[in-house]
Symmetry: C2
Subunit: 418 residues, 2 copies
C-alpha cells in the first residue's frame, strides 16, 4: 500500500510538471476541416461527453441545426432536421478531435478555429472563436438568420484578420496574457475582459500592417471592443493543449478534463485515459440578466469552457476576480474561501498563474480525484447560462458533481486492484 501511495505521488508529480511546463502559443486561425485530425465534412462537433440527438439539450440541438445550415448542407432548419433524422449528419464531442467548444460547443468543418500549439510538447489544440456576449449565438443555441450571418461574418472577416495578425506577431504567448489578466481582475473563464484588451492592444499595430480595408479592420476593432469575453476561447484551446500531454500517466489521479453537454457533466482522469466519468449536469446558480428569466428556463451546466478549471483558472481562482464573484451574488470573503478550497483539492501550485490578492501565491492546479472524494469539496466551475430554447441569459457558477469523482475512483481502484 505504501508502494502504491508512492507510485501515485510520483505519477501526480509528473502530471503536475507537465501541466506547469506547457507553453501554449496561439499560432493562427484555420478552418476546422483543415486542421482537426480526420474531421469529415458531414461531422458536427459539440461540447461535453458524447450524447445522442434525442437526449441532447435543446440549445445544443438548435446549434447543430444552425451549423448544418451554415455549412450549406441543408437549405434551412427543417431540411437540416430531416438530414439529421436520416443519419446524413454525424455528431461527436469536440474532445474527440483535440478541440473544445464553448457552451453548445458546436463546431462545423468550415468554421474557423483558434490553433494553439503547446510548443513544449508539440501538440496542437483547437477552439472555435467566441461569437461574443450577445443574446444570440450558435454557442448559446440560437440558429436564426442573424445568428448564422454573424458566424459568416466571423468566417469572412474576423478570423482571417486575426489569423494574419497573430502570424505577423509570431504567435501569441497565451500564458503571458493569462498571467497579466489575473493581475487585472480576470479569473480567465467567465471574466476575460483584461485578456481581450491585452490581446487587442498587442495586435493593433500588427493589424495596421495587414492588407485589409479600413472598414474591415474597424469592424474587427468594434467586435473586440464590444465583447470582453473573446479571449476565453483562445484560453480554452490553450487549456486543451496543456492537458493533452498530461493524459495517460499511469497511476495519476489528476483530472485532465471537466466538460458538460447540458445533460451530463463528465470528467477524465489522467491514469484512466480518455474514458468519461459522468453524472447529471448540475443546475447552475445563475445571475440572470433580466428578471424575465429564472431557473425554470435555464439549461443545466453546458460547455467545454471548464477546461479552464482543469488548468486552475475560473472557479478555481475566484479571488482573482471579486467583480465576478460580486456579480454572482458573493463577496470577497466567499471568493477567498472558494479559492482556499481549491487548494485543498489540488495537487500543485502554478507560479506562472499567481494571485495578486494572495500576495502572488501560485494558483491551485491539478484537481486530485482522491482529495475530492475524501474532502467532498466539489470543484467550483464558472459558467454561463443558456435559455432552454437558446440564448444567453446569465452568468453563474456550478459545482462539479461528486458522483463523477466517486465513479472515477471506483474505476481507478478496479484498474489498480486496490
Amino acid at each position: 500500500m505504501e508502494n502504491l501511495k508512492n507510485k501515485i505521488d510520483e505519477a501526480n508529480q509528473k502530471t503536475i510538471e507537465i501541466l506547469l511546463k506547457g507553453e501554449p502559443l496561439w499560432i493562427g486561425d484555420k478552418q476546422a476541416i483543415d486542421v482537426l485530425p480526420n474531421l469529415k465534412k458531414n461531422m458536427i462537433l459539440h461540447a461535453g461527453p458524447p450524447i445522442e440527438w434525442d437526449r441532447m439539450a435543446n440549445p445544443m440541438r438548435n446549434a447543430i441545426l444552425g451549423a448544418v445550415v451554415f455549412e450549406k448542407l441543408a437549405m434551412n432548419i427543417t431540411e437540416a432536421e430531416q438530414m439529421i433524422n436520416s443519419g446524413e449528419v454525424e455528431f461527436s464531442p469536440c474532445h474527440n478531435y483535440n478541440a473544445v467548444g464553448g457552451m453548445t460547443g458546436v463546431t462545423s468543418p468550415s468554421m474557423y478555429v483558434h490553433v494553439v500549439k503547446n510548443i513544449k510538447f508539440g501538440n496542437e489544440a483547437y477552439c472555435m472563436p467566441h461569437e461574443g456576449g450577445s443574446f444570440k449565438g450558435l454557442g448559446w443555441g440560437t440558429n436564426d438568420e442573424e445568428t448564422i450571418n454573424h458566424v459568416r461574418w466571423m468566417q469572412e472577416e474576423l478570423s482571417p484578420v486575426m489569423d494574419a495578425a497573430v502570424k505577423l506577431a509570431g504567435g501569441i504567448n497565451v500564458k503571458q496574457i493569462i498571467a497579466r489578466a489575473m493581475q487585472m481582475g480576470d479569473e480567465c473563464h467567465s471574466r476575460c475582459t483584461a485578456g481581450t484588451m491585452l490581446l487587442t492592444r498587442f495586435l493593433a499595430p500588427y493589424i495596421m500592417d495587414l492588407d485589409y480595408p479600413r472598414d474591415v479592420i474597424k469592424r474587427v476593432f468594434e467586435f473586440l471592443k464590444k465583447h470582453d469575453i473573446f479571449f476565453l476561447h483562445v484560453i480554452m484551446a490553450a487549456g486543451r493543449s496543456i492537458v493533452d500531454p498530461a493524459k495517460d500517466i499511469p497511476y495519476s489521479t489528476i483530472v485532465t478534463t471537466f466538460a458538460r453537454n447540458g445533460i451530463d457533466f463528465g470528467i477524465k482522469v489522467s491514469a484512466l485515459g480518455d474514458k468519461w466519468f459522468t453524472a447529471p449536469s448540475p443546475k447552475i446558480k445563475t445571475s440572470f440578466f433580466s428578471p424575465k428569466w429564472n431557473d425554470e428556463v435555464a439549461t443545466h451546466d453546458m460547455g467545454d469552457s471548464s477546461i479552464t478549471e482543469t488548468i486552475g483558472l475560473g472557479g478555481q481562482i475566484t479571488v482573482c476576480s471579486p467583480a465576478q464573484e460580486f456579480f454572482l451574488g458573493g463577496n470577497y470573503e466567499s471568493a477567498l474561501r472558494k479559492t482556499l478550497d481549491s487548494y485543498k483539492i489540488s495537487e500543485g501550485e502554478n507560479s506562472d498563474f499567481a494571485i495578486p490578492n494572495l500576495d502572488f501565491r501560485g494558483g491551485p492546479i491539478g484537481v486530485d480525484i482522491r482529495k475530492v472524494v475524501q474532502t467532498r469539496i466539489q470543484p467550483t466551475v464558472h459558467t454561463a447560462t443558456a435559455h432552454i430554447n437558446g440564448g444567453f441569459i446569465g452568468g453563474g457558477e456550478a459545482y462539479a458533481p461528486i458522483l463523477a469523482f466517486d465513479e472515477a475512483m471506483r474505476e481507478y481502484a478496479k484498474k489498480y486492484d486496490i
Copy 2:
C-alpha cells in the same frame, strides 16, 4: 463652538457633493497656448507650488531648459540657460493655469495638453500628455535630443490623432474608465494599465475612421501598447477639473490640492482658497528599477500627479491594486490597512469609484485636514522617482508631510478666529 462645528460639517458636505458630482469629459487635445488662460509665449509651467530657479530640483531645471529648446526660443541648452539667467523666460506652477503636470510637470506654450471639461460645472482643466514609461522624458528631467524629438513626435502625430479620435467619439467619460479600471487592478495613479487599455480599445474603431496614414496610426497604437501609464495624465486633468469647483467653500476643511515640486510639498484647502501650505517634499520609498540606483540619486517627491489622491485615487485606494503594492514591497494586508487609514482621514465615500476588494464599498474621497491633524495619519501618495540628474528610475510611495496640514490648520484657526 457647536455652531462652528455645524458650519464646518455643512461646508464639508457641500464640498464632497461637488467632488462627487463632477463629470469630467475629455474633449480633445489642444496646444497649451490656445487653451490655457493668459499663457504667454515665454512662459514655461512646472509642477507643484511656486519655486525659484535656484531652489529647483535638477530634473525640473533640466526639463525647463529642454522645453525652451523645444519651443525654439533657444538653439540649445546653453543658450536656454542664458535666456533664463537674463529673465527672458518666465516660470509658473501649472496650478496657476488650471493645469497639472506629471513629475517635473514642464509644459510649454506649443505643447499639446489634454482638455478635460467638468460638464457638471462648466470648467476646464489641462494636463500635458504622458511621454511614456521610458527612462527619458522632459517629465523625468532629461533634455537631450532623443527626449526633445519624442515630444516633437507627440506634438506632430500622437496628440493630433488623439484629439481627432476623442472628438469623433464625442468625448471620453473619464469617470467611467476610472470605475472600470478600478475593477481591473488600477489604483489610477502609478498603475493605469487597465485605463490605458480601456481607452485604446474604445478609441480604436474611431481611429480607423480618421484620415491619417496607416503608419501614423500604427505608431500611435505602438505607443499606447508600450506605455501603460498614458491614461494617468487624462485622469490628472480630470482630477483638476473635479476639484476646481470645490475650492473656496467657506469653512470647508477639505484638501483641494496635493502637489510637489521635488523640494516642497504643497496642499491647498477649500476654505483657504489658492493659498499653498508647504513643507519639505518627503523622501520617496522607492522600488528602483535597477540596483545601480538608490536613495542617494533619488529626487524627492515631485509632480502634480497627486491630484489623483486629492480625488480619492492612487495611494488612497491601494487595495485596488495589490500588484502595485507588491511592487512597492508591501502585501495585501498593508494595502488593505492603508486604504482603511484613508477612510479615517476622508470625509466622504465615492460610490462611483467602488473598490471590488471591499465588496464595492465606495472609495474614500475628500481628505479633511482636521482628521489628519488629529489622527496624525499622513495621506499615502503614490509616485515615481526621478534621478537627481533626470531620468525615470523607480516607482514608490510617499506620505504627505504633516507639517503642511498643521500649518493649514493654524491658518484656518486664524481665519475663523477659533
